[in-house]
């Protein structure tokens, strides 16, 4: 069947337009800005000045010599790695648990875990603001006080005594809780798409539930695992909204609670308003993300899945 170009454009046009307007153009703009000395959004003055790789050199310099920036790098690595593990394996555990529940129970249970994702980010963050608040009104503090584990309120995310662990704990906890539902939904539907007869066959062959998980469910959802892993890695590298609010509201320390993505955002909009530097940092983050993504896909054998003939006889 031959598809005419005009009709193709007609159907794809609107979508292409949106993609171009909101993704491609900003992407190029941001890369472009990283080659200008733009500050304070002074577009008229700086947009036409080309300064080559100067922003990248500055960034490199800051990373090398500024201890606060070193903290950003370490926080980013710890945050992405730990939250990724929590998200992927937590999601997997939840999916397995709900898979073996009866339908109604599992729907209710999954709904519960989806709540954080369905709650607006500000409301969700506000919840944790109250929870981790450094005064006696903080829920965590009042619980700990009641249990006599502490005798005066603590600032878990701020007090140098607990840094960096306190700040890391909070941002990982808050983001991890949102993230698990993604893996849960993907893995659960992947398990559900496995023919029921395979599970019955394994039971008849004498497999226990753990063996069904190990020998049937997990091997058959390898690719979903890869996908969730890579996808979550990207979103964790890029995410900053919840963390931004927690930093702004003084729940976590602005140094040890700041990931690279948040550094980009704050540099561009709140702290030094140095858009040239922020654009360079953001471009660098994208490159790191793409490289890590390719490595992960290669390591987990994604290509093989795409190429493998699936003969349907």
């Amino acid at each position: 069947m031959k598809i005419r170009k005009t009709s193709l454009l007609f159907f794809l046009g609107p979508a292409l337009f949106v993609v171009a307007l909101f993704y491609i153009i900003p992407l190029f703009l941001s890369v472009y800005i990283s080659f200008t000395p733009m500050v304070d959004w002074n577009v008229n003055r700086y947009l036409t000045q080309f300064i080559g790789l100067q922003n990248y050199e500055r960034l490199f310099h800051i990373v090398m010599y500024d201890p606060d920036m070193r903290a950003v790098v370490i926080t980013t690595v710890v945050f992405v790695l730990v939250t990724l593990v929590i998200n992927v394996f937590g999601g997997l555990l939840l999916a397995l648990a709900t898979y073996f529940m009866d339908e109604k129970m599992s729907a209710a249970y999954q709904g519960l875990w989806l709540l954080p994702r369905m709650t607006p980010i500000a409301v969700y963050s506000l919840l944790w603001y109250y929870f981790f608040h450094s005064s006696g009104i903080g829920i965590l503090n009042s619980i700990l006080l009641k249990l006599h584990l502490i005798d005066h309120p603590i600032a878990l995310g701020l007090d140098p005594k607990y840094l960096p662990w306190g700040a890391w704990f909070i941002i990982i906890f808050v983001n991890g809780l949102v993230g698990v539902s993604y893996g849960m939904i993907i893995f659960y539907s992947a398990f559900k798409s496995i023919p029921k007869e395979l599970i019955i066959a394994a039971r008849v062959d004498g497999a226990s539930t753990t063996r069904i998980i190990r020998h049937i469910l997990l091997p058959l959802t390898k690719w979903h695992f890869t996908f969730v892993m890579v996808w979550q890695m990207f979103s964790l590298l890029m995410t900053y909204a919840q963390t931004f609010l927690l930093v702004e509201w003084r729940v976590v320390d602005s140094t040890w609670g700041q990931t690279w993505a948040l550094y980009v955002f704050r540099t561009a909009f709140t702290t030094t308003k140095d858009q040239g530097l922020a654009a360079a940092a953001s471009t660098f983050l994208s490159i790191i993300g793409i490289v890590l993504g390719i490595i992960a896909l290669k390591a987990l054998g994604y290509e093989k899945m795409i190429l493998e003939p699936k003969g349907d006889i």
Partner: protein
């Protein structure tokens, strides 16, 4: 050496009663076929025997041992699925070895058993392939191998041939029957294909709406169906049903023709005070001709269609409100003119009589 007994077994799924108070005895070493239409409860019955479902009520026995609360593995059943359910990520070898590995048998023993069963089913050359690299017939054998390698007490097959083409189906069902006899393994075979059932069964159990309609040898089921459902489900085409009125003088009138039933039938009709009666006969027990034939019951109708199927043809005649199908030699059938008046000459000794209220065969009603 296992016989199976179901004792008043019922299985409900919410409101649906999938299996309704079924009692059934399956003899040791025999091949039983569960036959019935879609949704009749065949798979559910099979899964109950396998131990995948627990009955809502009733008990299941293997050799007088109550297995109702045992798992499928403890019952040691081999199960073959309609879609084969081979593990797609395992090679054929590992598929067959899987149940043995779960039993933690020694590697060398597993290896020899896998090869033994693979040789028996002639799939030794396929051991190194993945399921998706096999044809339907080959997958079917692998599924069978996986079920047999456990040396199960009972072999359960759920429509094992329905994914194969017609020719292969006829070929493999003969092989299956042969294999079952050689191994002497008690088997339950589910199908909705009545010709398959007739071909391979030692005993057929016709099941519909979760209730056993009739149980018997293929001959009994074919020759003497217990009720109208069985009569119209078995045979291709199935039995013709004609409704008649019982007259004062003990004859039966239908579409202008009269028939005197055998004395035994007449007696039952009288005792049951039947005003109407259903008569059923097989398509091969009648001949269509221009003139009525001697010694036959010959209602008249219009020739509607002749479908030649090689040696025999299916001739369709409308007699009053009834559509009747007759199987007769093609050569004779081709002499008839479509649309002309013809007689359906039925051999009266082959007619079965059914009570129109209960739809039961009069022969099965206690005298």
């Amino acid at each position: 050496m296992v016989s199976i007994r179901l004792d008043k077994v019922t299985k409900r799924f919410g409101k649906v009663v999938a299996v309704n108070n079924v009692s059934l005895e399956i003899e040791d070493g025999k091949l039983y076929v569960l036959l019935g239409p879609s949704g009749g409860g065949k798979t559910t019955t099979l899964y109950l025997i396998a131990g995948i479902y627990k009955p809502t009520s009733g008990r299941i026995y293997f050799n007088e041992k109550d297995v109702t609360d045992l798992t499928p593995a403890e019952r040691n059943v081999g199960l073959v699925f309609q879609n084969y359910a081979l593990y797609p990520h395992m090679k054929v070898y590992d598929n067959i070895a899987f149940p043995l590995r779960l039993r933690k048998e020694p590697k060398s023993k597993i290896d020899s058993k896998v090869h033994e069963v693979a040789k028996f089913l002639r799939i030794e050359n396929l051991l190194d392939r993945y399921p998706h690299q096999l044809s339907g017939g080959q997958q079917q054998r692998v599924a069978l191998a996986r079920a047999l390698v456990k040396e199960p007490s009972v072999l359960l097959l759920d429509e094992p041939l329905s994914n194969l083409d017609a020719l292969l189906r006829v070929y493999i069902r003969a092989e299956l029957k042969r294999m079952q006899q050689d191994l002497g393994i008690t088997s339950v075979y589910v199908t909705h294909d009545q010709s398959e059932a007739l071909a391979i069964a030692d005993k057929i159990v016709v099941i519909n709406k979760g209730i056993i309609q009739q149980e018997g040898t293929p001959e009994q089921i074919y020759e003497n169906p217990r009720n109208v459902f069985v009569a119209t489900f078995i045979g291709n085409p199935p039995m013709n049903i004609v409704k008649g009125t019982v007259l004062e003088d003990g004859t039966i009138e239908t579409t202008g023709s009269r028939l005197t039933p055998p004395p035994a039938v007449l007696e039952k009709i009288k005792r049951l005070k039947l005003k109407n009666i259903l008569m059923a006969f097989r398509p091969e027990n009648a001949v269509v001709s221009e003139h009525p034939m001697e010694g036959r019951f010959s209602p008249m109708g219009d020739l509607f269609e002749v479908e030649p199927l090689g040696r025999d043809a299916v001739v369709t005649v409308t007699v009053g409100e009834f559509v009747i199908k007759v199987v007769m030699p093609t050569r004779e059938a081709m002499q008839l003119r479509i649309g002309s008046k013809v007689h359906v000459n039925i051999d009266p000794s082959t007619i079965k009589y059914f009570d129109p209220n209960t739809e039961l065969n009069l022969e099965y009603i206690e005298a």
